[in-house]
């Protein structure tokens, strides 16, 4: 009997090009949707592009970058937005990672109704950002909202999203974590379910406690899931801005870099006043954000690669 293997199928002559041809549509889409606009953004960052058809685009060299980083007090605000982006990333990544892991550990046990709990914790992930924002805007109404009501039971009061920038910023962190912790939990759960039960049984026979089981069996073997979540959380939180738009709007003291890009690119609005669309300048801000994401992601990747070698090699 002749056995046809997958290698044989594409191995000889011109037929070996088949895998490449199969990849072609996907690669073409990737070029069209991801690489093309990214390269165009890099080029636009050196121009005064407005995004309006019919307006000439002039080459400005590094002027947009100079303005973004050094001109007047606007540069101070830009740097502050950059710092805020890092703070947002730190808190979201840390809390979402730990909370997601905790939920996964709890819901990996044979608890009664664990499927319902998994569904509840994952449900926010499937909602759009606008819906997530609107839900929390209602929750956080300072006058008669449910959270304000709960706060009043213990003598607290808050202006929530409309109040002090730091307070509003903290609430956006809460909502961002609520919206995304479900996916972190699911990735951890998937990782935990690949760990053979026999390893736990062996460890238990050796007298391992619950903490020792987690520390010496679960945690090392969860490395791929840990690394995936770590990188996803970092990159996702660095790029997040939509919740700021929905929950707070453009307010001094709350913008992150991603929102700054949007506001500059499409005109900051206050009532009916619309500033010019500075998409060249916004592209420069976008490249600054990209560099930030790239540096942090590379550092994080180096860290998780080392960790992977340590535990899995």
């Amino acid at each position: 009997m002749k056995i046809v293997t997958r290698d044989y199928l594409f191995a000889r002559g011109w037929k070996s090009a088949a895998p490449l041809l199969l990849l072609l549509p996907g690669f073409g889409l990737y070029l069209l949707i991801a690489v093309g606009p990214s390269l165009a953004t890099a080029v636009y960052s050196f121009t005064d592009a407005t995004g309006i058809r019919g307006i000439a685009i002039n080459w400005l060299g590094f002027e947009n970058y100079d303005e973004f980083l050094f001109r007047g007090n606007a540069s101070r605000d830009n740097i502050a937005a950059l710092q805020r982006t890092l703070i947002f990333c730190f808190f979201v990544t840390t809390i979402q990672f730990c909370l997601g892991l905790l939920l996964a550990v709890l819901l990996n046990n044979r608890l009664r109704g664990r499927t319902i709990f998994r569904t509840i914790f994952f449900m926010p992930v499937i909602l759009g950002v606008a819906i997530q924002g609107l839900i929390w805007k209602l929750f956080l109404l300072p006058r008669g909202g449910p959270v304000a009501e709960v706060f009043s039971w213990i003598g607290w009061s808050s202006e929530f999203l409309g109040g002090q920038p730091r307070q509003a910023f903290a609430w956006v962190i809460v909502v961002q974590i609520w919206a995304n912790v479900g996916i972190t939990m699911v990735i951890f759960l998937a990782g935990m379910q690949t760990i053979p039960e026999s390893l736990y049984e062996a460890a238990r026979i050796d007298g391992a406690s619950g903490w020792q089981l987690f520390r010496n069996v679960t945690w090392p073997l969860l490395t791929p899931a840990v690394n995936t979540n770590f990188l996803l959380n970092i990159v996702g939180s660095l790029q997040a801005w939509q919740l700021f738009l929905v929950l707070i709007g453009y307010r001094p003291g709350t913008q992150v870099l991603g929102y700054l890009v949007f506001a500059e690119g499409f005109g900051q609005t206050s009532g009916s006043v619309v500033s010019a669309f500075r998409q060249g300048y916004a592209a420069a801000a976008s490249i600054a954000l990209f560099m930030l994401v790239l540096i942090i992601a590379l550092a994080a990747n180096a860290f998780v690669s080392r960790r992977e070698k340590k535990y899995l090699s």
């Binding site: 088949a18 407005t50 007047g72 606007a74 409309g162 709007g249 619309v274």
Partner: protein, 461 residues
Amino acid sequence: MNKSMFWRLGAVLLVFGLLGAACGSDDGDSSATTAAPAPAATEAPADPEPEPETQEDVTLRVLVHQNPPMVEFMEAFNESFEASHPHITIDLSVVEAGDLSIATQTRLSAGDIDVVGIFGFSNAAQAYMSGAVPPNWQTLIEAGLLMDITGQPFVDNYDEATIADAGSFEGKVYSINLGRVSYSGMFVNKDLLAANGLDVPTTWGELVTACEVVKAAGNECMTVGGADGWPVFVGAYGLLGAMYPDQEALVEGLWTGDITWDNDQSVEMFRRMQIYTSDMLEAGVTGLSHDAGPPRYAAGDVAFMPTGVWQAPALESAEPDFDWTYVPFPGSDNAEDNQYLFGKYDQGWAIAADTPHPEAALAYLEAFSAPDNYQAFANAVGFIPTQPTAVLDTHLGREVAPFLANYRVGFEQYWVAPAGAGQWANGSHAAAWFDPFNEWTDHVALAAQAQADLQAGLDAN
């Protein structure tokens, strides 16, 4: 087997190709947000002239911003227009006011719109504004995206000043503006004031006293839709106007250095803005949206609601028996300085230069501009009319009539920030930066910061 696989591969590639072609096609009739079927408006618009039935069917894509009474009127008008122009179907898109500029730019650039709602032209870069970037409407005109409607008969229906100030650029007309609004006044709860033995305040001192009295009686002084941010500082535009009645000169003075945000007069203005924000506004307005403002105010236990006249229809709708008036915000100690209403040119119409249906678009604007229809529109929306034959024959119209002779275009329509200016440079927004809306608790420090941020921009150009 292998040949079959390659045929399949070819078929897959063909499908992708067809999909790509399908995605690229555009019949020009698509719309992001289509309004619901038209309900009846408060007043029926006039029937425009019927047209011959032999014309080709067209779909006219129209974009407006969200303003409930206006959208309600537009839906009724569109129904009436479609009845009298059977070959034209109106595809109405409604977007939030803050998204209008983005939707306008993208849809004009994509050739995906025929008639656009556009705010009155303002914020033009002046000769003294070194390095200022032209406003968006100017860029749209320079890009050739708006149709030159100079000489169209319906343009003559509007007063010359409106066409010149709010719809023209370099001698050509690109927009007809449908109405002025005032944003510098405040609604006054007459019943509550009377119950507390108070008259309508005409000076800052009287306003402070009135607030103290109504609060002592267990009521609230002021409310405003604070959750949206901008209603807070718009509510204080009257205070700005009372302190600086010539707002065009104020902008020029700030640019040239003749006026500063930290001079004595400005510092006093910042002090009063802080009182307005921190003491006069009721607690919890940080969570009250702009649209929720009128129903809240109509509850009757709040004395004043500083906001634009555009909220009058919503207020009447929320509580028809509510007894109110609308007066300039008394920001000055001198009653004479508190006689001005400041505002802006609001909604207007423009036509996309490359519309495939120019005749239908012009017919639409002509029908809208018919005096009877325009009068119905002004009544429904509450705009101060820009057609000389129209009158604002509403409760609001009667209340603001004594002040219309003192109507002036406001600061917001003149202000352009210098590139490089910091985020606190526009001191007219200061009311929204005090506690509880933002971090500032010291008006002197904020005034100094506003001037420093402005100066940094001026020095950078």
